[in-house]
């Protein structure tokens, strides 16, 4: 087999792992792989290569109910083990931006955990028995994170914390929108990109669209462009979680 054919098969394996093959192509590849250990090895190699990307995300504690569901499914009752045995995502020397990513990730874990699962950080945390929306934007290459939450589910104010500075080209701005499950988008405003805490006011439309099945969309747009619908390059899309209590 030629090098070119080898490359093609290897890249098919990569796309199989990545999940970008069409359903038909993935199915055909799966059949080939079952007959060809070399292809299976190529898939395993790509799982190893790309798997490191999964280790690069800030950890988020799942709710305790997940373990209970697993235990119920398997008919086991053992409670979870010690929580301090979590493996580090990295064990070697890293470049500057990698270090920044880890620093941001660590902070994001603590703060996101507090926001999502009952902590006390942020605006309006004294309100008991209310529901609030929370979200986090994470830029994998730079490690930049924004923590976002509302004082209450019906609040017209959104608290935003930028954990570090994020470089935005001159003449451009990061615009944040809330997009409903139906695909309608409403402008929230310009997302601050200098480290710090901010409050953004929600329009009535945007406030109404802040629902658990909506998502936040951030696009890089011309600063002078009309504010309305998403018009620039979409940078991040992130879910909105509902926090109770």
């Amino acid at each position: 087999m030629s090098d070119m054919q080898d490359d093609d098969r290897n890249l098919d394996a990569a796309e199989y792992v990545l999940g970008t093959l069409s359903p038909e192509a993935a199915q055909a590849f799966g059949r080939q792989m079952r007959q060809d250990p070399a292809l299976a090895r190529a898939v395993a190699d790509w799982e190893t290569r790309l798997g490191r990307l999964g280790e690069d995300l800030p950890a988020v504690e799942p709710p305790a109910e997940v373990w209970q569901g697993i235990a119920d499914d398997l008919g086991i009752s053992r409670p979870t083990g010690p929580a301090d045995s979590r493996p580090a995502a990295n064990d070697g020397a890293v470049k500057r931006w990698r270090l920044a990513a880890i620093a941001a990730s660590t902070a994001a874990v603590v703060l996101a955990g507090a926001l999502w699962f009952g902590g006390s950080a942020g605006v309006g945390s004294g309100a008991a028995n209310t529901s609030r929306f929370a979200s986090m934007i994470y830029d994998q290459p730079t490690g930049m994170s924004w923590l976002i939450h509302s004082a209450r589910a019906d609040s017209s104010e959104l608290a935003v914390e930028a954990l570090q500075d994020y470089a935005v080209p001159e003449g451009k701005t990061l615009r944040m929108y809330v997009r409903s499950a139906a695909g309608q988008a409403s402008l929230v405003g310009d997302l601050p990109h200098q480290a710090g805490r901010y409050v953004m006011n929600l329009s009535p439309d945007a406030r109404d669209m802040m629902q658990p099945d909506s998502e936040l969309v951030v696009a890089m747009e011309d600063a002078g462009a009309a504010k309305g619908q998403v018009s620039g390059k979409i940078m991040w899309v992130t879910p909105i979680a509902l926090r109770r209590g």
Binding site: L11, E15, Y16, V17, L18, G19, T20, S22, A26, Q27, G30, M33, R34, P37, R41, V43, A44, D45, E47, T48, R49, G51, R52, L53, G54, E55, D56, L57, P58, A59, V60, E61, P62, E65, V66, W67, G69, I70, L74, I76, S77, R78, T80, G81, S85, R86, P87, A89, N90, D91, G92, V94, K95, W97, Q140, P141, K233, I234, P239, A241
Partner: protein, 189 residues
């Protein structure tokens, strides 16, 4: 005991039916898997369902994990990610994504030799992939990362990036080729 070795030990014990080890494995790794699932599925409820399914599968298939294939966390993340992709493509159930990691493991169990990638796996740090991602063009890197973290298909990538489908396919394949070659160079340097 090093962290990788600890995870391997818990996985080995899980394969023998040790519920305590399985609980420790869950406690040590579930937050990383959940984070990835949240990123891909963009819904806490779906991510929790996928996480539950993934760990049930891990319990059932722990005996197929082969340390020489790669790090335990990589194996766990692969299982979770295939599950997430399957949920994303649920309307197209003919894609047999979740079955393949175990199929791969089974096929590899009988093989004696290790690929250069596996031989170097222990030495290859996360910094290598980050350095190599930095080597890709912006479009190539964005395609790879969006596909990995959000499970986007070719068509979805084309829409997200507002680019022709053929161009996106080319970005992905060239990006992956460059990534592979760069990682191989990093492993031998």
């Amino acid at each position: 005991m090093a962290e990788r070795e600890q995870l391997e030990a818990w996985l080995a014990a899980t394969a023998r039916g040790d519920e305590q080890a399985f609980g420790q494995l869950y406690s040590a790794t579930s937050s990383q898997l959940y984070s990835l699932l949240l990123r891909i599925l963009r819904s806490p409820e779906r991510a929790q369902d996928a996480l539950q399914d993934a760990y049930v599968r891990i319990w059932q298939k722990a005996h197929t994990y082969a340390p020489e294939r790669g790090a335990p966390l990589t194996w766990l993340l692969s299982i979770a990610r295939y599950r997430a992709l399957d949920m994303l493509r649920r309307k197209q159930p003919e894609v047999a994504m979740p079955e393949e990691p175990d199929r791969v493991a089974t096929l590899l169990e009988d093989e004696q030799s290790l690929s250069p990638l596996e031989e170097n796996e222990n030495q290859q740090s996360l910094s290598a992939i980050n350095a190599c991602l930095g080597d890709l063009s912006d479009e190539q890197r964005q395609c790879v990362l969006l596909a990995y973290y959000e499970g986007l298909t070719h068509q979805e990538l084309a829409e997200r990036m507002d680019a022709p489908l053929g161009t996106v396919k080319s970005w992905i394949r060239r990006g992956l080729l460059r990534l592979r070659d760069c990682l191989a160079e990093e492993a031998t340097s």
